[in-house]
Every structure is written in structure tokens, then in C-alpha cells.
Amino acid sequence: MKFKPTPLLPMAICIVTTFGDSKCVLPKPKNVPVKEHSSRTESVPSTLTALSVTKPNGPPPYGRRKGWVPHTAEDFGDGGAFPEVHVTQYPIGLGRKGKAVATRSTTTGAPLSLQVNAQGEVQYDAIARQGHAASQLVQTQFKDLVPLRDQANFQSLDTDSLLERPDSQTVRETAERTRAALEKVTQSRIAAAQPKAVTNATNKDPQYIRYTPNQQGGTYNSGSQQRIVRMVEMPVDPFEPQRFKHKKIPKGPPSPPAPIMHSPPRKPTAEEQEEWFVPPSISNWKNAKGFTIPLDKRLAADGRGLQEVQINDNFAKFADALNAADRHAREGVRQRALQQQRLAQKKKDERDQHLRTLAQQAREARAGLVAATEGDDAVLNGRSARSEDGDTGEDEAYRKREEMRQERQREREREARLSHLSTSQRAKAMARSENRDISEKVALGLAKPTGSKESMFDQRLFNMSEGLSSGFKGDDAYNLYDKPLFGGASGSAGIYRPSRGTDSDAYGGGNAEAITEMLQQDRFEHSSTFQGFKGADANRQSSGPVQFEKSQPTAYTAVKSTSDVFGLDQFMEQAKRLKRSSDAPAKPSGSPSKRPRD
């Protein structure tokens, strides 16, 4: 028989210790039972038992408590806990929950006692069977995990007979037993459900009970020896509500769990978790009511927008570097072009200058003014030189000629420049100069600066709260005649509005006052004393435009009109005027200062 010391059986350990102590007293036993101690004290030799009894049952002395654990109340030997023993200890049951110190029972909550099976093996599965009915099958062994068909002894067995269905006899018995049990339950259920017949207890006959009190005597019981009690059932109101409330009995503790006969679940790998990912829009947990989520909401919810795009800094640096290089290159190109342009300009200027001097010389030679000795510089700066001279003989004519010459020169330069331009540029320049130059128009009085400030604004922009950005009104919007043409102060409203007095004047008066006033008025006032022109009267209030009468022809005008019956004079005048106006634009530039320079 094998024995493993367990904490459940401290007695065995105690015996071992006493055995060790008694080694010196007794002769050495022949067969030392090293590990074959029985768990029961009966199996220990009587001598040893006697010895163990003599030994006081207490804790080992201080310093020899290594590996020793106190289990029973006796182990503490009327003392407290052992601090050097690192297990939970309950000396005299202090602090122990539930049961008292040493009373170990098999009831629930108590520590389980060690059980041994028929072969003497410790039944470790007792803990799994604890709390289960004896009839219940609890699989606790390793062999319960191994499929029967894989077990070695199963192969040899006749599997068909092993797996045979129960015979009819068993089936019948089982059915009978079950039927009886179920019927019992059913009957009780039906009986409980059926309303009880109204008891006829109310009209039960009264019971008479003869009652003899214990204490007899004149003072007791009104002196009588016996009493007769009449017992009547108290009438019950059949409609009386229930006096007692049924309370729901709380559910009892569940049966202990069955041993788990499978390996623990593996942690799902990342791939498996990925496989089981259910989008929240269709998940039964996240969208329990099964609403249809619009696609844009799904996209917004899946967090794709939350991921920020990470761009490497090097991109920005690269772009900067490219920009810088580009700028640098452009700058270089521009500088070079400028340089070349400047060179070309210089060369051209030189050539022009040369040509000009040649032309000047030729002109002067032609004019006979030139002195062969005079240099180019003198010619060019002749005017200033002469002014320096302070020669008063130099007259206005010379200055004018000089100015005209310069003007012509400028003209020539311009033409030369134009001739050097490419055709397209020339066309552009022509087009520009065609409409740009309004100096003549100004001179003729055709072009006038915009007079009023009001006309500077687009009328359509008024009364638009949104401004121009809202656009103009639509084509169909009827805003053309929404205002009077001559509205406001400039209009006729102020002028032609008849005043009240004149109104009544015109229409013969509405009221008596006005009529009497009108009658009393002296209508021939002016004929007696002339006080100047009627229209020039400052005090007079004008109630309308000044009206002129056709004047009578005076003597001179009458002569004139007679002399020019056909309006010839007038016609000539007009023709002259027209000729002058048509001449004016034909002249090349009225004033040279107003010619725009290009």
C-alpha cells in the first residue's frame, strides 16, 4: 500500500516523527517501512502506538520546525500561531470561517475527507463528485478523455454487443418507471391548477367538547367541575382576497460544475481575429437593431479618414531645392539675356548715333549752314551753346525751328523703332496707338471726362445687399422700368408740381377762402406801375418752367431776315464751320507736347 503524505492526514506525519525519536530506544527494525505507512492508525504496530501516546502531542521544539505545519488544535499546544511557519494558521480556531476547529464533517463547506477506493487507491476525484448525487456520472479520469475505440482493451471487445440497444424488457421497465414518475408530477400539477371545490366546512355541524380543568375548586372555573365547549367553524368569506402573499423562493445554488474534459481554448491568432472581424455596421452587437447604415457613414466610421498621411520631410526639402535651383537658373538666364540686350542696345544706339550725325551733317551741308570745322557736338548742343553765348540775336524762329527739328527727330526715331519690330509686334503697337491717342478728341471737345459721380457706378449694383458676387439679376428679371426715368430732384416732380394755391387757382378753387382771395386780387396791378420784367421778379415764385413768348421781330432782324430770305448766310457760316472742324483732325497733332511717347 502506498501512501503520499497529504495535508489532510496530519496524524500520519505525527507518527513518523515519533518513530524517528524512538530510534535510539528500540532495536532497529528489520524491515524499515520507508514509505509504506498506512494512513490509518490501526495498521501501525501497537508498540509504536503506545509510544506515540506517551509522547506529548505538541509542536516540535523551536528550531526544528522546518517543514512542519500545524494542522490541528493540539499542534498549537495551547499557544498562538508560529510566525516561522508560513502557512495560514488558526490557533484555537481563531479566524477560521465556517466550521469549528477540529470538527471535520462531510457536509458542504467542510474540508473533504480523503477517500480510498476498493483497490486502496486514493480517490482524488472525490472533489469532483462532491455535491453530486451518487447516481450522477462524473467523468474525472484521464481515460475518459481517450476515445473508447482507441483504447487497447476496446479493440478486443465485441463492439456490437457493447453498443447494443437495451432489450424490450428494459425499455418497458424504464417506460413504466418514467411514466409513473411523470404521472405523479402531472397529477400534482393538475391538482394544483384545478380550483378547489368549495368546502362545505361552513355548514359543518358544531363540535361539542367536554372540558375538565386541572385545577378544581370553588375559586377556579366559576366553581364548576366541567365545561362543555361548542366548536363552530368560522364562516369564511369566499370572495376574501388571499391573506398570504406567495413569495418567490430564491433559486438554490446550481449544481457543481462538471469537470472540464477539454484543453483550454487557444488564444486566437492575429489572422484568426482578422477573419472574424465583423464590420460594426452589420454587427449584431454594434448594430443590434439592424439599421441600414449609409455608405458614407460607414466610410466615415471605419477610421480610414482618421489616418493621417505621413509625408517624409525630404519631399519638402527636395521641392525647396528644386525651386531654388530653378530660380537660380532663371536668374542666370535673365541676367544673360539682359546683358545681351544691353549690348545690342548699345550697339544699336551707337549705330543710330552715327547715322544721325551723318544725316545731320548732310542736312547741314545741304542747308549751307555747316562749317566744316564745326564738330558734331557743337551741332547737337548748338542751342545750349548759343544760349550760353547769351546772344539775343537768336530769335524765336530759330527756337521754333529747333523744336520742330527735335520733334521730327523723335518721330523718326519712333518710326525706326517701329520698323525694327516684328510684324506681330508692329501690328500690336499700331492697334495700341490707334485708339490710345485721344489727344485730338480732347482738343475737339469730343472726349469729355465723366461729369457726374453717379454715372461712375453701375446702376445695377444698387439695392443689392449681396453685392456683385451674387451676380446680376437674371435676364428675365424685370428691373428695367422699375424706376422713373427722371426721378428725384432732377425730375419734373419738383418743377411741375402745382402748389396748393395755384391748384385752387386753376380749378376755380375748392374752398370759399381761396375764391374770395382771388376775387379781391388786383389783376391789373402791373399796368399801372411797371416794376421791371415780370420774369425777373425775384420775389415771384415760379411754379413751372419759364415760358417765353415769341418776340416780335425788331427792325434789324427784319432787315436781316429780308436780306437773307433763303438762309444763304447761315448756310455759308455752317459750311465754314464744318470745314474747320474737318480740317482739325487732318492736321498732324495739334500740340506736340500732347503726343504720347512710346
Binding site: 448525487a133 447516481s135 450522477q136 456520472l137 462524473v138 467523468q139 475518459d144 478523455l145 481517450v146 476515445p147 473508447l148 475505440r149 482507441d150 463492439t159 456490437d160 457493447l162 453498443l163 447494443e164 440497444r165 437495451p166 428494459t170 425499455v171 424504464t174 417506460a175 418507471r177 418514467t178 411514466r179 409513473a180 414518475a181 411523470l182 408530477v185 402531472t186 400539477r189 393538475i190 391548477a193 446550481p254 449544481s255 462538471a258 469537470p259 472540464i260 474534459m261 477539454h262 484543453s263 481554448p265
Partner: protein, 319 residues
Amino acid sequence: MMRPEWHAPWKLMRVISGHLGWVRCISVEPGNKWFATGAGDRTIKIWDLASGNLKLTLTGHISPVRGVAVSPRHPYLFSCGEDKMVKCWDLEYNKVIRHYHGHLSGIYSLALHPVLDVLVTAGRDATARVWDMRTKQCVHVLSGHTGTIADVKVQEADPQVITGSMDSTIRLWDLAAGKTMATLTHHKKSVRALALHPTQFAFASGSADGIKQWKCPEGQLLQTCTGHRTIINTLSVNADGVLVSGGDNGSLSFWDWKTGHNFQSIASQVQPGSLESEAGIFTSSFDQTGLRLITGEADKTIKIWKEDDEAVSPYVATV
């Protein structure tokens, strides 16, 4: 190692399209003339087994019908559904004659006792209820599971009631006492399917982690068949020792019961107009002869499978 028995391969024989919802349960009449199906369209339809013609449509449930059973000893059809109702239909009048009221949530499975006038229903309220057929009384409430009970089977000898639950346990119940006889915790995933062997005193249970066979009175593990890597919705066994498992992805696996050898795997084709994801087998049942397999599928069809007649056993040829 045992040599697996040869079985002829199975092939699709007929597709019956008539239901408007998932076909969730099948029950073949004891006379093998017709069979009843319950579906997600809340109807129970009765079909002629030989021709596949619709004979009758029974309406009355207000939620998907999850269990039907034809009684071999009464002219009754029992049905249960997610509307928490158990109905007893009289097939002579085609009317509901009884209701069994008491379930707190949808009922997912139903089984009739072969000897006693008792039916057992089980469902989402984690209880199996034993009903007295005639008095409509709930005789026992078999509680103990911590999850939805997906399947319940009843047999004539102890353990008379077997339940497989989503808490991945199987419980064997003592019907007379209404208590658990044994709890089998070998499965790691929810047990959705149970099948009683017609001749042997054993049963099979299907879960996503495999199919296990159990020896009956004490619930010893007989065998583990792995290889059908999907959620197993249904299991059926015939007397020839062919175990069929129908998966949630429309795969059908055929196993030799004795050795656990997977001799055939078929992927069920969805009917035209269905999505690919609508391949799924919810229920299966052999007919009374065991020569036809009827499956109810997620593409709203009922499919009938049969063994290939022309297939010849290679062992016979060599012998």
C-alpha cells in the same frame, strides 16, 4: 486500425424549391410517404416524398419554425418556433389542437418520446421542457445548461433525454427525476447537432471543433471525427452506418460510423438566383429506409440525395 466499411457515394437527386425562407427542420413520416418541413417563412409544408410535390402548407406560427416532428403513434404533427410556441397539429383536420405554453424564449428543437406520450422542447432560454402531450402540462423543466440549447434528442432507454447546448456541453438527463445524469464537456465549441444511432446504443454530437460519438448509458467518448472544418448544423445517421454532417457553409460530409472515416465531402450548390453565401445546411434527415437523405438549406430549397447506384465497391471486385 480498423478498415472502414465501403459506402456508395452520395449524389444529389432532387431539389425542391417552394419555401420562401430558410428550411430549418425536417421530419419524415413513419409511413415514409411524405415529410414535413418547417422554414423561416413561418410555414410548415408537407411534401410527397416520392414525387417531391407539395401536399399541404400549414400556417400558424408567427416566427420561423425551428422544429417539426411527426408522431408515430398519433395522427399528430408537433411544431415549435422562435415565437416560443409549441403547436400540436391534428393531421386529420390540419388544425392546431393544442398549444404548449411556457418557454421564455425561442424554441430551437423538439423531440418526441418513442414510448411515452411526452414531448421535449428546448431553446434559447437554456432549458429543456418536458410536456405531457394530452394535459399540456409542463412536467419537468430541465435546467442546468448555461447557454441556448441547440438540439434535443429523446430515446426510450436511459438517458432518455440528451441535449446539446451552445455552452459547448452535452447533458444526459434522467427523465423520471428531471435531473442531469451526466455532463459531457469534451467539446470546445457550441454543440449544435445531435444524432441518435438507429440501431446502436450510441449517439453523435457535432460542433465546430469536430464530431464526437458517445456510448450511451454513461456517455463515454467513443470516437472523435475531425475533418469537417466548419460549424456543423446538423447530423444524421442511418442504419447502414453512414453519418452525415451538414455544415454552415453548405458542405456535406459523409462518415463511416464505425471508423469515423470521412468517405465523401460534397459542397451543396445554391439554387440559381441565390448568393454564394447562401449555401448552408440547416437540417438533414434520412427517410425511414435510410436510402434517401433530405437536407434543408439556406438557399430556401430542400435537397434530396441518394446513393450512387452505379458505384461498385472495390472490395467486392477484388474478392
